[in-house]
Symmetry: C2
Subunit: 203 residues, 2 copies
């Protein structure tokens, strides 16, 4: 019966790059399972500033998009499609029913929440305890791995947004990285020259 | 039977101010229930820096001290006794048994984790998006409410530790607050003169 409940209610959707699936407060679509593609979960303040919390790749599951079924969660994340993606959505009310009736589902919810909690603690550690140069080096390595390329088509503006800092800070640091022969800058893109050096810097 | 399991295994302990109950990694004492007193939960990095995540007052429960029974939690918090405290401890193995067998206990675990997750998101928002002056103003108000006094016996060093910054930064800001007639500084303590002003500043 539970199998049927899932089978008849799970919705498969294709999203284009750039689409905002969940837009913070008051939205509670349900459990999101990424079949393929790439989503970014970020947190937005009242002032419109944002910070990337985690990314969802193939087979990743997001429970924060069903946060309304969990008591005590008083914040919400926004989900943005970073690459064209196929996702499955189990609606919040369906997941809520299963979660209530089935201990194994509840255990799974607990594990999903704990995983994201750990992700967020990692982000906080980066922010609080690492210098911006370290964070930028780590970000470039991560992006390169996500893009599967040593050339990144990304603006200083977008990098700054991801790292919650000003564009000027990023531009200055990238100039410094270029001087150190870690990267090569060109209009609208940058090429990583020295992965080993970036790794060392990212600590 | 579950009632007996709790009854025979819950340990009541009195802790003196200054005692570290849980010391980060590898410790997993169990569920900690504060009868009275005050505990501080903080996160420590390998380099020994720390950041306050939340405080536990009367009737508060800490599940992070039983994090070993929850999958996917890969960080750990330290618990420090800030005021002499009476606490009840339900050992991790006992809580683990109840959590496995009983859906209501699992739901309670989920709620406890979610509560702390929300606390941590709040702290992160403070750190990432607020200026240090705002954070300091908020900290002074919170301390005053915890101490139930407008005079705080707290060193600049301790404030700096709580806000993860340098003592010099705090001393400079407090001097500024004094000039603004928000506080009055004296050796080893400070008196809040203008709560409304601090509230306004804390945003």
């Amino acid at each position: 019966m539970e199998k049927n409940l899932l089978l008849f209610n799970t919705v498969a959707t294709v999203y284009q790059k750039g689409k905002i699936i969940i837009n913070g407060v008051d939205e509670c679509n349900g459990l999101i399972i990424v079949k393929n593609g790439q989503l970014r979960a970020y947190y937005t303040t009242a002032e419109g500033k944002e910070i990337t919390l985690y990314r969802l790749l193939s087979s990743d599951i997001c429970i924060m998009s069903a946060s309304c079924i969990i008591k005590n969660i008083d914040f919400s994340v926004t989900l943005e499609v970073e690459k064209d993606s196929e996702v499955l959505v189990i609606p919040a009310n369906i997941w809520g029913k299963l979660n209530e009736a089935n201990g194994a589902v509840k255990e799974f919810s607990l594990q999903l929440i704990s995983l994201r909690f750990s992700d967020v603690m990692w982000v906080m550690e980066q922010i609080v305890f690492k210098g911006m140069d370290q964070r930028l080096a780590g970000f470039l390595i991560e992006q390169s791995s996500l893009e599967e390329s040593d050339t990144l088509s990304i603006t200083h503006e977008v990098i700054a947004k991801n790292l919650s800092t000003a564009r000027e800070v990023i531009s200055r640091l990238l100039k410094y990285f270029e001087n150190e022969k870690l990267v090569e800058l060109s209009r609208g893109s940058l090429k990583i020259l020295d992965f080993k050096g970036l790794h060392k810097l990212s600590g």
